[in-house]
Each structure stands twice: as structure tokens, then as C-alpha cells.
Symmetry: C2
Subunit: 473 residues, 2 copies
């Protein structure tokens, strides 16, 4: 495909996406295909000769589109939002077009410096602690996901503590006395990080949460004391701002005090909820964050930046570098050796990296801070209204207080009824929602955060929920 | 930005990229900015009000472009190629436009099934062992990078072996008697994987390579015997097809035999070179691959697919799932529980994933197998010609036999001269090449693999190298 042909086909794809944006509401939100359908519609072997782009694009419509669960539908209320927006799509496009690989500063200085700048912008935009700013000992970096950010934080924690009680983690591996802590409401990625880091899940102390799903600091302190009395080392704590199941916010100030006393690293996972801090009225959730060693949130969830874009901040970058840096001859270069630049390859698991800061920069500039605030406020307001409707209906109850844009609720008919309700609604294609388990009961989650969701989508969803429940009762 | 505005600005970005493709040869390959230049040209804070897209695109030209090291220039001969192509860019664009998150089959069946299909296509295209096919016990998955693939292979290896000698790795963490092996020419990501997996670099046995940079199987066997006699467990071996420094190919058949005898997992890292197997005449490098437990190569290096796209295959997916699967309530769903589908979240570090199969599918279909072969053959042929020119010039010598598209060479003037030569050439902006250390001597690497590189780019590069060397002598 020549540059001239690219101009033509590029316009076709842009138009295809614009049409998709305009029509996405008409598609069943949850894909209706059966296992194997997509694959069975395509040739079993690659073509020997090249095919025309028109044929390929026709197959996208014929085969791929029916196999899509439409995360960008305004009627998508499942899991968490993974929203995107036109400027983000164009930022990703431009990154693909430039095709730079930003493993080192020198392999594209703009890739590193724009990322540092935009992450510093976010510190001001979300009123995060100044210790995360790149001008000091800390700094921010874009990771693919919150899972990877948590893993990197865990590794940095282990290295920092080992340094102070001499254990040579880089060479000797993980110190078998180190322990991690999180709440029983934390994301499953913490358990996964324990497995990847070679620590095993037995060394993850799962701390009880209170009735609202918040980690209990008294239990954390007790558990750490018991562990320390056995010669074990409290090393890492992951607190959550906005748990996956119910949006609960762990009390950071108390947890931070305990971590600082024990010399444990505090990582704060605000993957979904973090974006809300762009509005001053929602910043209470970050109270105590200045005590944290690291923090992560996902603009690819609720800040209109397409997946993948996790922003990970550390107050001190040295332990992270110690955990992850390697320097073979073939990567040595003058700029790195000058000490004047940052090489982000040492800040995460992969070596290579693409220019993800572009899409984040495009989104922040296109919306402006006020534009982002307006969107977030609408979503939270509509979640509050939805919660009121639930409370006003005698057949339904709230399973937890609504948290920002997330409402957890259930029908009074029990687990089977709620499962059937969710399945029937999802099979209808009109909307999509998912479930969790709270208080040992199946609970429906209604998460509002797609870019194009309007109040009337929320209203129609509630009408469908009520109507379907009545039919099933 | 409305869909209508997206149509307009989308066309602008498409045109911008097409112009870039046409003009990239005119830019200095290595960015000429000094540390801090990019950042200093941009505002210190995010805008409160949204800005027009035209302003943003103007800043891309004004600030970002000078800060780019042009990996897509036909005069880029550094590191390894990280090439892209028009169909790949459009695949990435479409993935961003659809904005699906494919963590589970159900969250977009097409995302999982197209990925399975295209990776099965690659098995046929590259003549890889049938054990990697998704129809059997194995299967392929797209990872971000070869670093992550190696890490996942290491984790799977540790879990598989622990299973047979009971050690509960998921709960108890890494078994402290397990060892990994690789050659002194292996990629630095293996060392990094040891650090991330909690094993530490002391448990990585670095096996001597021969004069051609290939792992010595006799030394591997000796080292494993010594280790086993001390009660240690040879667990994981990473062999390389196409080492980073010189493109050496480890003898897979002999290494595979040893691994199978010892019950060690053999992972084969063919990150750069793997693509060459699309041509039957280059498949010797894979001799013995049927003995491997896992294999990875990067279409984002040499197969015209933009970063990130690593293809990772396993002959048995169970140990991988055992190492990485976690199942919280909020991810349970009917499709997964039916056992009829694959959920790729359990195949890698992150939970979320974007629709990367689209760009790979677009590229394979647009080029066709023959189109890919033609490109690869040209690159290899030109590398052979370049090597002949080096040999014919009394001031230069080959530092290793050329391997596929990579030529390692040096000027007879010693390390300082070679460093000065590389720096002068790179500062000129006319071309970009990088270096490594072979036989304790600074060695220049000339890697041919950019999509738009033509023979005359290679000719001009050699003329510049000769001319600059003459000036510096």
C-alpha cells in the first residue's frame, strides 16, 4: 500500500469509525455469536497473494463486527468503563504512524519528555502529592495496566526493604520473609502479582474489610504485629481507592501511618476511581495519599483514553530502577550516560514501548480540565439518580452505598433471580451489566462511564431492568 | 469532538501520516534535540478549556516532530527494525476505534478468535511445530514484547516442574532450588525476568557461547550435571534464534535433547529473526524447534506490524494457565464456565488487552505470504551485499558472519575510532546505526529491515561510512 493508497483507505477507515460511533447504539451490546462462529467464517490459511483493502474492510463488517461486545456503546454498563474518545483514537493513530519505540530517551526524546510532562500535568489536575513530580525524587510513567503497575510497585517495595536489611534481591531473589497485605476487596491482580513475583499467595495477608468494603486498619496493624513477632517482614501494602466490586475507598491516612511505622511500602490502586479527582469535590477519597510510596490510575478506564494507558507514580524512583534495570552493551548511549535523561525501559516489565503519551495529551488538550470535569460530574450524578430509583422500588435494594459512578444493587428474589435477570437483560442486547458477590449474595453492578452515555440511556436501562424483573417474577 | 468533526480531523491525521511517509527520508534519523528541549516548548500546566484540534496538530509538527528518532526512516539501521506499514497503522486505528477490551472471550469473541486464527496461520506460514496449534494442547497468544513472553515462559516452566516434584508454587512461591540457563549472548530480558520472577540473577546460569556466538550444548550439559549433583533443579532454558548482538543461532536440536532429558522447559526467543522463517530457505534456524516448549517472535520487529505485537506459542497451555490464572467473582461468566472458549487474560501479565490481532491480520492479508517473502528476501540480500563491501575494504572487517539482515563490522582503528565513527554518522542525521561489544571490541551493527528501505539507502549508507571513516582517519 503506497502513501497515496493509504490516504484513500485511511479515509475509509476514519469514515468507518465515524459511522460506527453514530450507529453503535443500534447494535446488541453483548456479542450474540456462539463459540467458534467468528473463526468458522474465515479461511483456515493465510492468503499467498495480497488482498485488496476493500476486501479486508468488508470482512471486518461481515465477520468481526458481529463478534464485538460493544464497550463503546452508551448502553454498556458492565465491569468498568473502558472508554475512548475521538481525540484519543487520533492520538493512537498518530503514534502508530510515527512508529517510534521509546525504550530509551535517545530512541525518541519526545516520547519520554511528553510522557513526563503529561504525567506531571496530571499531578496538578488531580491534586496528587508533589512527591510524585518528576522534578524531585519521584516521577510518573505510563504502564499498560493497573496489574502491571501493582506488580512493579511490589517489586520496588521488596527491593527497598531488602536494601535496608541487607539482602541482595537482584542476585539472590526474593527474600522469603517478606509479606504483602491487601484487603479482601482488592483486585485479583494483587494475587496474580504475588504469583508472578515468586512470593506465592500464602505470603499475601488478606485483611478483612468493614461492612462498607473498606480495609480495616486495626486488623492490618494487628496482622503486621503478629507477623513481625514471628520474624516476618511487612513489606508491601496495596490499598484500593474504588474497589472493583463496590467502589469502596480504603482509609489511606490510617493505612499510611501504619505503613510508615512498619517501613512497609504503600501502593494505592485507584484504577477506575482515580479520574474522579479531576473534580475537587471528589478528592476526599485521596485523603492521606501523601503517605503513599506509589499510586496508579487508568485514564483508559474513565478518562476517555483508549486502552492501554495506566499512569503509575512513585515518590522515589530509585527502588523501582533497582528492581528493574539491566544495562547490556547494546543499549549504552551518550544521553543515558550523561545522567540528564530518564530511560523508561527501566520503569516497567517490557523493554520496548510505544508513544502512548500522545493520546493522553490529545485527550487532555481537547477536553480541557473543565471538559473532563463536566463529563465525570454527569456520570456521578446519573449514578446517584439510578440509586434513588433502586431505593424507591420495593423489589430492589442497594447492596452498597453508590460510589461515584458505580451502583451495586439486587432484586429481592435471591441469587437465581438476579442471575436470570442479568442474563436476560444481556441476551436482549439492549444493555450490558455484570455482577459480583457482596455479603455472599449475587449482586448486580451498574457502572456509568462510557463517553457517549446520556441520561436517557440510564433511564431506559432502568426501565428495562424493572420490566424484565416483572416478567421474570 | 463529534463524529462529524472526527471525520474531518481524522482525514487531517491520515494526510499528516501519508505526508510523513513521503518525507521521512528528509529528516535527520536521530533526533537532534538536547535533553529538556521538548518539554521546555510546552506549557507547564494542562489547559482549563479545550483546545482546537488544529492547534494540537500544529504542536505535533512544531514540538514533537523534532523530538522524534525516525524508526520508520529508510535510513534507520540501528538496534533492530521496529517496522510498520500502512495496513498495520489502519489495523491499530480500527482497534482504537472499536475500543474493545478482550480480557475474556465474552468481552469480545472476535478479539479472541481472530487472534487464535491468525496465530494458527503463522504456524503454517513459518512452518512451526504443530504442537503450537490451538486445536491441540498448545496455542498462541499476542504479548506486548519478547521480554514479557520470556517471563511468562519462565513462570510456566517453574510451575510445570513443581507439579511433578510436589511444590505448591501458586501458594508457596518460587521453589528455591530451581535454576534457569541461557547463553552469554542472550537478550538482557532473561536477566530481567529472573529479577521479576523473584529468582534473582544468581540462579541464571550463563552458558558460554562458541566463537560464532552460539550456546555451547556441551557446556550446558556439564553445568546441568554439576547443578543436579548439588540437588538443584534445571528448570528453564532460553535458547536464542538470532542473538541481539550478532544474530547467532543456538543449536536447538542439541539443546532440546538435553532439556528433554533433564525435564527442563525449553523456550526459544526468535524475537527478530523469527519472521525470516516465512521464507523456506531460512528455516534451518528452526531445526529442532519441535523439542521446544515455547517460542516467541515479534511481528513488530520485522513483519511490518507496528509495536507492540509479540507472538508467543506454547506446546502445552496448562502450566501457563496454572502460573497466571486467577478467577474472582466479577469475572465469572457462562462462556468461560462452559469450557468451550479461551480467556486470554490468563495467558499474560496484564488483565486487560486490546484487539492487536486486527493489525496482524491486516498486514498478512495485505502483503500475502509472497509479499512478505519478497520483502524479507530483499533485506537479507542487501545485508549480504553490504557484508561484501565491508570485506572488500581493507580498513574494515566483519566482526561476525552476516546473519540474515544483520551485519556486524568494525573499522580497524580500534574502539575509539569506531565509537567516533558511529557518533559522527549518527550526528550527521544521514543514517542511524548502533553498536555492541563482540570479542571485547566495540562493534558496529548494521540492521536492514525498515519497510521503506531500498538498496540505494544501503548503498548511500556504506558510502557515508567509508567517507566518514576516511575523514576521521
Amino acid at each position: 500500500m503506497t502513501p497515496e493508497e493509504f490516504r484513500k483507505h485511511g479515509r475509509d477507515v476514519i469514515d468507518w469509525i465515524a459511522d460506527y460511533m453514530e450507529q453503535v447504539e443500534e447494535y446488541p451490546v453483548l456479542s450474540q455469536v456462539a463459540p467458534g462462529d467468528v473463526r468458522a467464517s474465515l479461511p483456515v490459511s493465510a492468503p499467498q497473494q495480497g488482498e485488496s483493502f476493500d476486501e479486508i474492510l468488508a470482512d471486518v463488517k461481515r465477520v468481526i463486527l458481529p463478534g464485538i461486545t460493544h464497550w463503546q456503546s452508551p448502553n454498556f454498563f458492565g465491569y468498568f468503563p473502558a472508554n475512548t474518545s475521538p481525540p484519543s483514537i487520533l492520538g493512537e493513530l498518530l503514534a502508530a504512524g510515527l512508529g517510534v519505540q521509546g525504550m530509551l530517551w535517545t530512541t525518541s526524546p519526545a516520547c519520554t519528555e511528553l510522557e513526563q510532562l503529561v504525567l506531571d500535568w496530571l499531578i496538578e489536575m488531580l491534586d496528587l502529592p508533589p512527591s510524585f513530580h518528576s522534578a524531585g525524587d519521584g516521577g510518573g510513567v505510563i504502564q499498560d495496566t493497573a496489574s502491571s503497575a501493582s506488580l512493579c510497585a511490589l517489586l520496588a517495595a521488596c527491593h527497598r526493604q531488602a536494601d535496608s536489611k541487607p539482602h541482595d534481591t537482584r542476585h539472590k531473589g526474593i527474600d522469603s520473609w517478606q509479606l504483602a497485605y491487601t484487603s479482601d476487596q482488592a483486585h485479583s491482580s494483587i494475587e496474580k502479582a504475588m504469583m508472578i513475583a515468586g512470593m506465592g499467595t500464602d505470603r499475601l495477608r488478606v485483611i478483612e474489610s468493614d461492612a462498607e468494603g473498606r480495609m480495616r486498619p486495626d486488623r492490618l496493624e494487628q496482622q503486621m504485629a503478629v507477623d513481625a513477632s514471628h520474624g516476618l517482614k511487612p513489606t508491601f501494602v496495596c490499598a484500593t481507592v474504588g474497589t472493583t466490586s463496590s467502589g469502596a475507598v480504603d482509609p489511606l491516612a490510617e493505612i499510611g501511618r501504619i505503613c510508615n511505622e512498619q517501613g512497609a511500602w504503600l501502593h494505592v490502586d485507584a484504577a477506575m476511581a482515580g479520574t474522579a479527582a479531576v473534580c475537587p469535590e471528589f478528592r476526599d477519597m485521596h485523603h492521606g495519599l501523601e503517605l503513599a510510596d506509589s499510586y496508579a490510575f487508568n485514564p483508559h478506564k474513565w478518562m476517555f483514553v483508549n486502552f492501554d494507558c495506566n499512569c503509575f507514580f512513585v515518590a522515589d524512583r530509585q527502588p523501582l530502577l533497582q528492581a528493574l534495570s539491566v544495562l547490556p552493551d547494546y543499549l549504552r548511549n551518550r544521553a543515558s550516560q550523561s545522567g540528564e535523561v530518564v530511560d523508561f525501559r527501566d520503569w516497567h516489565i517490557p523493554l520496548g514501548r510505544r508513544f502512548r503519551a500522545l493520546k493522553l495529551w490529545f485527550v487532555i488538550r481537547s477536553f480541557g480540565v473543565e471538559g473532563l470535569q463536566q463529563k465525570i460530574r454527569s456520570h456521578v450524578e446519573w449514578a446517584g439518580q439510578f440509586a434513588e430509583w433502586v431505593e424507591a422500588d420495593g423489589d430492589f435494594e442497594l447492596a452498597a452505598q453508590p460510589s461515584l459512578n458505580l451502583v451495586c444493587f439486587r432484586h429481592s428474589g435471591g441469587d437465581d433471580m438476579n442471575q436470570k435477570l442479568a442474563d436476560t437483560l444481556n441476551d436482549s442486547g439492549e444493555l450490558f451489566l455484570t455482577h459480583t458477590v457482596l455479603d455472599d449474595q449475587l449482586t448486580l453492578r451498574f457502572s456509568i462511564g462510557q463517553t457517549s452515555t446520556r441520561l436517557d440511556n440510564v433511564e431506559r436501562a432502568w426501565a428495562a431492568i424493572q420490566g424484565t424483573a416483572a416478567e421474570l417474577s
